[in-house]
């Protein structure tokens, strides 16, 4: 018997083919993070976090189950959560209302980082639709660009989206701050900021994470960043 579509299968049978020591290794990677001990103190199973959680209203998702799984040190269940549950969280941290001061949202942050660093297929799939958003953040420092507003991408926003997208430059010029007269970025970003941003991505290992989940995106970013850093006199390679 398999779980109903949209239902979280907690039995773990879908991951029987994964070695137990691999699941333990990934669990250990989460536990080794300095933040881990501040995010998990124990769980009463009171369910206050679930009551506060917006995602729990719409998905078969429970911050309590995340905290419980980690507290029980159940590597098999951890692996199920790592693949099938953590991407349902909206990272709003409403669950921080926990009377034991747990942070299921924080635990999920750590789990997502481990999933991405290890290039899990489920992480690649979850992030696939966000390629251009990640590109924009990393290449320009601004997340949502006005030119994303296209009728074919937002049919649910109504017919006026077409008019806005066709006359985007005019609409943007109607905004009072001239730093927002941009269409490819949310606002004008100066060269010094961009250079510092690229150095931060390089020094903190973010580009290594991108390489694991999206090789195409990595190649584009590598080109953009290495060119600029070279122009600014930095000898940096992302390989």
């Amino acid at each position: 018997m398999t779980a109903k579509p949209g239902t979280l299968d907690l039995s773990g049978r879908q991951y029987r083919h994964i070695r137990h020591d691999e699941k333990e290794r990934l669990f250990d990677e989460v536990k080794k993070d300095l933040r881990f001990e501040e995010y998990l103190y124990g769980c009463y199973e009171c369910g206050i976090c679930v009551a506060a959680c917006p995602s729990a209203r719409f998905y078969d998702f429970s911050p309590r189950k995340i905290a419980q799984t980690m507290a029980r040190e159940d590597a098999d269940l951890f692996y199920v959560m790592l693949n099938d549950s953590i991407w349902d969280c909206s990272q709003c941290f409403s669950c921080d209302v926990c009377p034991r001061k747990n942070s299921p949202g924080g635990l999920i942050t750590l789990m997502r980082e481990v999933a991405v660093k290890n290039g899990l297929a489920s992480a690649q799939e979850a992030l696939e639709g966000y390629g251009r958003v990640v590109y924009k953040i990393m290449a320009t420092g601004t997340q949502v660009s006005p030119d994303m507003l296209q009728a074919n991408a937002f049919p649910d926003w109504g017919p006026h989206v077409k008019d806005i997208s066709e006359n985007l430059e005019v609409w943007r010029r109607a905004l009072p701050p001239d730093t927002m007269h941009t269409t490819e970025t949310s606002w004008h970003v100066d060269d010094k900021t961009i250079t510092e941003l690229y150095l931060i991505w390089h020094m903190t290992g973010v580009m290594d994470m991108i390489k694991e989940v999206d090789e195409g995106l990595f190649m584009i970013l590598q080109d953009v960043m290495e060119d600029r850093l070279e122009d600014e006199g930095y000898d940096v390679s992302f390989d």
């Binding site: 251009r132 994303m148 507003l149 490819e184 190649m219 080109d223």
Partner: protein
């Protein structure tokens, strides 16, 4: 045999060489330079393009490295070079209208022209004619790639 075979509505002209894995095509000219572009399958997967930014003339690329960055509303990706060589011309028209790639992926929407460094050897790793169509069909069916939709004014 049709001059321009279709797989799930995606047009694949027989006279081009294809890198099926990277969704690119090349047209080999008499002087051994090549024109590079995205296939109909690629433009369809990307969606209506907002930006298509080729690398500058003079850029030297190894096979598999990006020749251009293309962006649609929610997607961004590289056009990977099917050959090693130097970019000798870029399609300047794309700066003003990236949807040329959607409307005319094999003609007006070409991306760059290159001077390949090892054309004969690398060409052997690409597919052309009916073999290319068959290889592309295998990939499209294996990955269940969606059928091609063509925008108004689409041309071959």
């Amino acid at each position: 045999m049709s001059e321009n075979p279709e797989v799930r509505g995606c047009i694949l002209p027989l006279d081009l060489h294809y890198s099926v894995v990277d969704h690119t095509w090349i047209r080999v000219h008499d002087d051994k330079t090549v024109t590079v572009g995205m296939t109909d399958v690629a433009q369809n997967l990307a969606g209506e393009l907002l930006h298509a930014k080729p690398k500058k003339v003079g850029t030297v690329r190894k096979k598999g490295k990006p020749l251009a960055t293309v962006e649609s509303s929610k997607w961004v990706g590289p056009v990977k070079s099917p050959l090693s060589g130097e970019v000798i011309a870029v399609n300047d028209e794309l700066a003003g209208d990236a949807t040329l790639v959607n409307r005319s992926p094999y003609k007006a929407g070409w991306i760059v022209k290159m001077q390949p460094t090892d054309l004969d050897a690398e060409l052997a790793g690409m597919f052309t004619g009916q073999e290319a169509v068959d290889k592309y069909r295998e990939r499209i069916e294996a990955e269940d790639i969606k059928a091609c939709e063509h925008v108004e004014g689409f041309e071959i």
